[in-house]
């Protein structure tokens, strides 16, 4: 009998069960290390050309360049990346067939940079104070949501250069209330130690959002997610996650690229014209979410069918 070759990258029943239990799956190889290196070398040379970027280049916070959000809308290799079958099929097997990519972000870490505070994000109102994603309501309340984040290591991600840390199985219960006030203080960047580790949240202190101010994350549950360049981890944004400080050498740096996905019934940036966070602000005039898989039968969100460089986003179908 001829064997049927697997033609998609959907998670198996066992992998899905593991994902449900742990809130993450990975590392998963998306690119061979040599290919990743080549791609990143091309991308990094293209990033300074902002002529077609959708946000103006003056949206600079003290450390967080939010004007570099959503460069998949003007850099071809990033457009290709968010549509990659190895990523989209896995995400669609978690979220269902109809999926949008609503945000991409770079997460660089350079020598001397602090680690990132433990955090969870459901609505992403944490810094901007307005929900950035809104799941449909259930019993009169917005459903408990979050986003699926696919965090790809564009360079090797090591303990020394500040790899991610995860706490398995913590994705179902929010320890933080993102609607609480959180003060932006760029002076605090690289200046504070928490439990003996230099860390912060890009100018904020995520502890200010704790539902119980006296609660402390149980760091004995955490592990450092070391990844080779070209590997990704897929996780719920509601999973407790953080990162280590960069204690490595001068030339070594970590470059993570996060692509965030939600099902099409989620409203993205509801009633929002400008996102203001991390000391910067980005107008949404040129914004569009990308349909990466299936169909958009809800029509809640503005959809970008092509990038600003003319790359056509062809949704995956099953």
């Amino acid at each position: 009998m001829a064997t049927t070759e697997r033609t998609d990258h959907r998670l198996s029943a066992q992998e899905l069960e593991q994902f449900e239990r742990d809130g993450f799956i990975g590392p998963i190889k998306i690119y061979e290390p040599e290919e990743m290196e080549e791609r990143w070398n091309t991308i990094r040379r293209q990033l300074p050309d902002r002529s077609l970027a959708i946000y103006p280049d003056d949206a600079l916070g003290a450390v967080t360049n939010i004007s570099n959000y959503d460069r998949h809308l003007d850099v071809d290799l990033l457009s290709e990346h968010i549509m990659k079958a190895e990523i989209v099929d896995r995400v669609a097997s978690i979220l269902g067939p109809d999926v949008l990519c609503w945000r991409t972000e770079f997460f660089p870490k350079y020598p001397g940079d602090e680690g990132t505070d433990w955090h969870q994000a459901a609505t992403f109102a944490n810094a901007s104070k307005k929900p950035q994603i809104l799941w449909p309501s259930r019993d009169g309340q917005p459903a408990f949501g979050g986003t699926i984040t696919v965090w790809t290591a564009f360079t090797d991600s090591t303990r020394e250069n500040g790899c991610l840390q995860l706490m398995p199985g913590t994705h179902r219960q929010m320890n933080y209330d993102e609607s609480k006030p959180m003060e932006y203080d760029p002076e605090a960047i690289n200046a504070r130690e928490k439990e003996g580790v230099k860390r912060g949240f890009f100018g904020y202190d995520y502890r200010q959002l704790q539902k119980d101010p006296n609660w402390q994350p149980d760091e004995s549950q955490a592990f450092p997610l070391v990844m080779k360049r070209g590997e990704c981890v897929i996780f719920w944004s509601t999973l407790m996650h953080a990162s280590l400080p960069h204690t490595g050498s001068k030339k070594d740096y970590r470059m993570g690229f996060a692509a965030r996905y939600v099902p099409t019934q989620v409203r993205i940036y509801p009633d929002t014209d400008t996102v203001a966070e991390y000391g910067g602000g980005i107008p949404l005039d040129n914004y569009g979410a990308v349909l990466v898989s299936g169909k958009d039968e809800y029509g809640h969100n503005r959809i970008a069918k092509t990038s600003r460089r003319g790359f056509t986003f062809e949704p995956r179908g099953f």
Partner: protein, 84 residues
């Protein structure tokens, strides 16, 4: 001093400083004017530090596009043309 000579001196001086700074930042004494900043192992944070040194000495920053795509000599020449 004639203008052309002044410009050529400035260009040489920016190039010399650029190569010296990059060698220092990357802790690599073998750096040459024909090398590319990223190929040498440079990254955005080091580019920022390099730019600060240039702003202090020559009142201008490097154009990141030229610095990332061209040689150190190209980046220096571009900066010198703006500083002249």
């Amino acid at each position: 001093m004639p203008e052309a000579v002044e410009e050529s001196t400035l260009k040489e001086s920016v190039q010399r400083a650029t190569v010296e700074w990059v060698a220092e930042l990357l802790e690599d004494p073998e750096v040459g004017a024909e090398d590319n900043f990223l190929d040498l192992g440079g990254h955005s944070m080091l580019a920022l530090q390099l730019g600060n040194l240039a702003k202090e000495r020559f009142g201008q920053d490097y154009d990141l596009r030229v610095l990332f795509e061209g040689t150190l000599a190209d980046a220096a020449a571009d900066l010198a043309a703006r500083a002249a």
